[in-house]
């Protein structure tokens, strides 16, 4: 009898690999063309070293997150849940996304109203997922001259954290369709990104390993992708 889980993992591998390979074309092209620009002008000062650094960092983050996703799909690693401060995490993620956002003419806004108890998540996993999602949204659907909001808020279902912007056209139906098309379509999430949206799917894979998932969310008139995390009961008692 065929090993269903292995086959499913393999299918997942290929889908992720395809979308990551597609997504990597752009940062690598920026790096190559920037170097060439300096050579053509015969002036190294023409090279935008900030662009090269941020694009290389994006590519590395995507590769790292992809590898984590792959290990999770193959059950070669697991994400142990631990109490994590979402507020600190968002500050950290915003700081890392700052240079990239600037390059894409998008501002970043943190919306952390009030105090939040720690949530049960894996620190490395949650950070990888949020960074991958952030890079994918900033690159795929730049909000030129506007802002991408990193927010956390409380709902009866748990503590919701996500990335939001002027994505009014985004719907749950499109998200479901994108998940179906992932890996087979070159542009599975046309409403949200001109590329493969690899970072979004990598984020989804990592979040699933933490028994949560990405979904279309709305927060204070902004639309985006978010995940619901459960408060850490352990620390609540403390």
């Amino acid at each position: 009898m065929p090993d269903m889980r292995t086959n499913q993992s393999r299918g997942g591998d290929m889908e992720l690999l395809r979308s990551v390979a597609e997504q990597l074309k752009t940062p690598l092209a920026v790096i190559a063309r920037q170097v060439e620009l300096g050579e053509l002008a015969g002036d190294i000062r023409q090279v935008d070293t900030t662009a090269i650094r941020t694009q290389a960092t994006t590519a590395l983050t995507l590769v790292e997150s992809y590898l984590l996703g792959l290990q999770l799909l193959h059950q070669q690693t697991e994400l142990v849940l631990e109490p994590v401060s979402v507020s600190s995490m968002l500050v950290d993620v915003a700081h890392e996304l700052e240079g990239f956002a600037k390059q894409y003419g998008t501002g970043l806004e943190l919306r952390i109203a009030g105090k939040y108890e720690p949530v049960m998540a894996n620190h490395r996993g949650l950070k990888s997922a949020l960074l991958s999602l952030g890079y994918a949204l900033l690159e795929g659907y730049p909000l030129q001259g506007r802002k991408l909001t990193l927010a956390v808020h409380r709902t009866p279902q748990g503590i919701v954290t996500g990335l939001y912007g002027e994505y009014e056209h985004l719907s749950s139906q499109q998200w479901r369709r994108a998940l179906e098309l992932q890996g087979s379509a070159r542009q599975p999430f046309a409403a949200l990104t001109g590329g493969s949206g690899a970072g979004i799917f990598v984020a989804q894979t990592i979040l699933q390993a933490m028994t949560t998932k990405l979904r279309v969310g709305k927060h204070l008139n902004q639309h985006g992708l978010a995940t619901t995390l459960q408060p850490s009961q352990q620390l609540q008692l403390v």
Partner: protein, 126 residues
């Protein structure tokens, strides 16, 4: 020198192309979406369009159909510079050439700035 309308969804890559084309004296207007590009047409009056086919919202083919429906856009040279790999692009070539008047299709990851500059020069003159 020519007015070039660049339809490139990636901001960082667009900035690189703009610098390279402006360095050799072209004027460049850059848009990230087909909708923006159509709005820019009247004021900017490009001599040439360089475009990616994979865009958010309407894609590059839809943009070209719209462009060709305008009197000023019917004979405007257009160069495709896309991330779509050659095997995906191949079935589209006939439509791009015959119906949409695209004479040059470049595979973006493999196209150097020098190659792009050369094609722009040739097509803007055509």
């Amino acid at each position: 020198m020519a007015n070039i309308l660049l339809l490139e969804p990636d901001n960082a890559l667009a900035n690189t192309y703009i610098k390279a084309l402006e360095q050799i004296g072209h004027d460049v207007a850059c848009c990230a979406t087909a909708e923006e590009a159509l709005q820019v047409l009247d004021d900017f009056r490009p001599h040439l369009v360089v475009l990616e086919l994979q865009l958010t919202g309407h894609d590059g083919i839809e943009f070209l159909h719209e462009l060709r429906s305008y009197p000023d856009g019917q004979n405007m040279p257009a160069v495709v510079n896309t991330n779509l790999p050659p095997q995906t692009l191949r079935p589209l070539l006939a439509v791009l050439d015959r119906d949409l008047g695209v004479k040059v299709c470049l595979y973006k990851p493999r196209t150097t700035l020098q190659q792009l500059i050369r094609v722009v020069k040739e097509q803007a003159r055509a």
